[in-house]
C-alpha cells in the first residue's frame, strides 16, 4: 500500500538549525544541504536546497553548480555577488539584499561575500543531488591537477602553482581576512 509508502513519506526537514550544518567554520559560516539523500521525496521532485550563512565578510569560494541551476534568495543581510559566464564575462556584479533573488545558471561560476556582519541565503537547486565544483580550496578543481599542468596552463612557476593549489586549505568557506601573503603589489 500507498499508505505505507507515499502517504507516510517524510515531507519536511529543517535546515535552519545550526547543529545540522554540513559545512561549519566558526566565525566564518555554515552550509546545510537538503537533497534526496536526506529527504527522499526530493528524488521525485528532482530538486534540492541549500541554506547558507556567511559571517564577518567571509566568502563562499568561487564555484560552479555542475548539474543544476541555483536560485538564490537572500534571507538576511547583504552580500557582494559575482556571476561569470562561459566567456569570462561578469554577468552579475552587485549587492544582493534581504528579500532579493538571483539565478545562477548551471555551470556559471559564482562567488558570494558577506557585506558586514552576516549574510544568510536559501538556494533552490534544480537537481535532487546538486553538486558544486569549487575553484579554490582543498576540494578545488585546480588542486586536482598536477602542478606541471597548472604551471603550463597559466605560464607560472611550479612554486606559484603550489601556492595556487595549497595556500587555501579551507574547503568551501573562506574567512576573507587578508593574509600576509595577500600583498597588493599593484
Amino acid at each position: 500500500g500507498l499508505e505505507e509508502t507515499i502517504c507516510t513519506m517524510k515531507l519536511k526537514e529543517n535546515i535552519h538549525d545550526p547543529s545540522r550544518s554540513d559545512i561549519y567554520t566558526p566565525e566564518v559560516g555554515r552550509i546545510t544541504s537538503l537533497n534526496s539523500l536526506n529527504l527522499p521525496i526530493l528524488k521525485w521532485l528532482q530538486l534540492s536546497a541549500e541554506r547558507g550563512v556567511l559571517q564577518n565578510n567571509a566568502l563562499m569560494v568561487p564555484h560552479w553548480n555542475f548539474n543544476a541551476h541555483s536560485i538564490v534568495y537572500g534571507c538576511k543581510g547583504n552580500a557582494q555577488v559575482q556571476v561569470v559566464d562561459n566567456f569570462g564575462n561578469t554577468v552579475f556584479d552587485g549587492e544582493v539584499s534581504e528579500g532579493q533573488i538571483f539565478v545562477v545558471p548551471q555551470n556559471f561560476a559564482v562567488v558570494k561575500r558577506a557585506r558586514g556582519q552576516r549574510f544568510e541565503w536559501i538556494s533552490f537547486k534544480t537537481n535532487d543531488r546538486a553538486m558544486i565544483s569549487p575553484l579554490a580550496g582543498s576540494t578545488s578543481v585546480l588542486r586536482a591537477m598536477p602542478e606541471e599542468v597548472l604551471a603550463n596552463a597559466f605560464q607560472i612557476s611550479r612554486e606559484d602553482a603550489r601556492k595556487i593549489k595549497f595556500n587555501n586549505e579551507q574547503p568551501t568557506l573562506s574567512s576573507g581576512q587578508s593574509s600576509q601573503q595577500m600583498r597588493d603589489d599593484a
Binding site: 560552479w64 569570462g88 545558471p105 562567488v111 575553484l135 598536477p146 603550463n152 587578508s178
Partner: protein
Amino acid sequence: QQQNECQIDQLDALEPDNRVEYEAGMVETWDPNHEQFRCAGVAVARHTIQPNGLRLPEYSNAPTLMYIVEGEGMTGTLIPGCPETYQAPQQGQQHGQSSRFQDKHQKIQRFRKGDIIALPAGVANWCYNEGNSPVVTVTLLDVSNSQNQLDMYPRKFNLAGNPEDEFQQQQQQQSRGRRQSQQKSCNNIFCGFDTKILAEVFQVEQSLVKQLQNEKDNRGAIVKVKGDLQVIRPPRRQSERGFESEEESEYERGRRGRDN
C-alpha cells in the same frame, strides 16, 4: 528539443565548418545549428593535439564522449570531491622539511587509439599528447541530454588560458553574450571575478591572480609544453602486470614485444 527540428528532406555527409588554429594543435567544429545536429540534439568537434601539446582544462554544459581516432597521451578528469590519490613520496619529512608542498592530484589515465573517454556535464578535463604523432579526437556533446539544463547550444567553460569558443563563429548571431565576448580579450572564467576577491580566496598576490586571468595569453586552447609534462603516475610496466584488464595486458604485451 523544439518541435519540427527533425523534418529533414535530405541527409548529407558533413565536413567541419570551422577551424581554429592554436599554438600546439587545432579544433575543428561542425555547425551545431545544422538541421541534422539540431535534430539529434548534439554538437561535434575534432581536436588535433601536436606532440607535447596540452589541451587546457575546460568543462562544458553537456555530457561528452571523446573518441581517440589516433595517437596516445594522458588525460586528467577533475571530479569535485574526489581525493588526490596520486601523491609524490613524502621525502621532505625525512630531511626535516614540511611535506606540505609535495604535489598530489587526482588520477591520471593514459589513452590510446580506439579509447572512448566519457565526461559528465560540468566535469573539467585536460589532455596531453605524450606520443610522437598527433592525437586526433572526435568529441560528441549531447546538448539535449537531461544533464544539460542550459539551452541547446554547446558552451565551453575555460579554466585556463584565453582561448576562443570554437563553436562561437556558428553561434555569434544568437546570443548577446557572444557579441560581448568578441569585444573582450579574456575568456577564462577567472577573468570575470574581481582580482582582489580571487587573491583572498587563493591567498596569493594579486599579480599571481592576474596570471590566472591571463589576458595576454594568445596560445589558445592547446599549448606547447616545453620538455615533458612531469606528473605523478604509476610506471607503465607496473600497471601492465598488476592492475590492467586482459585486453589492456595484450596491448601492453604488444608494446613490450616491440621494446624487446
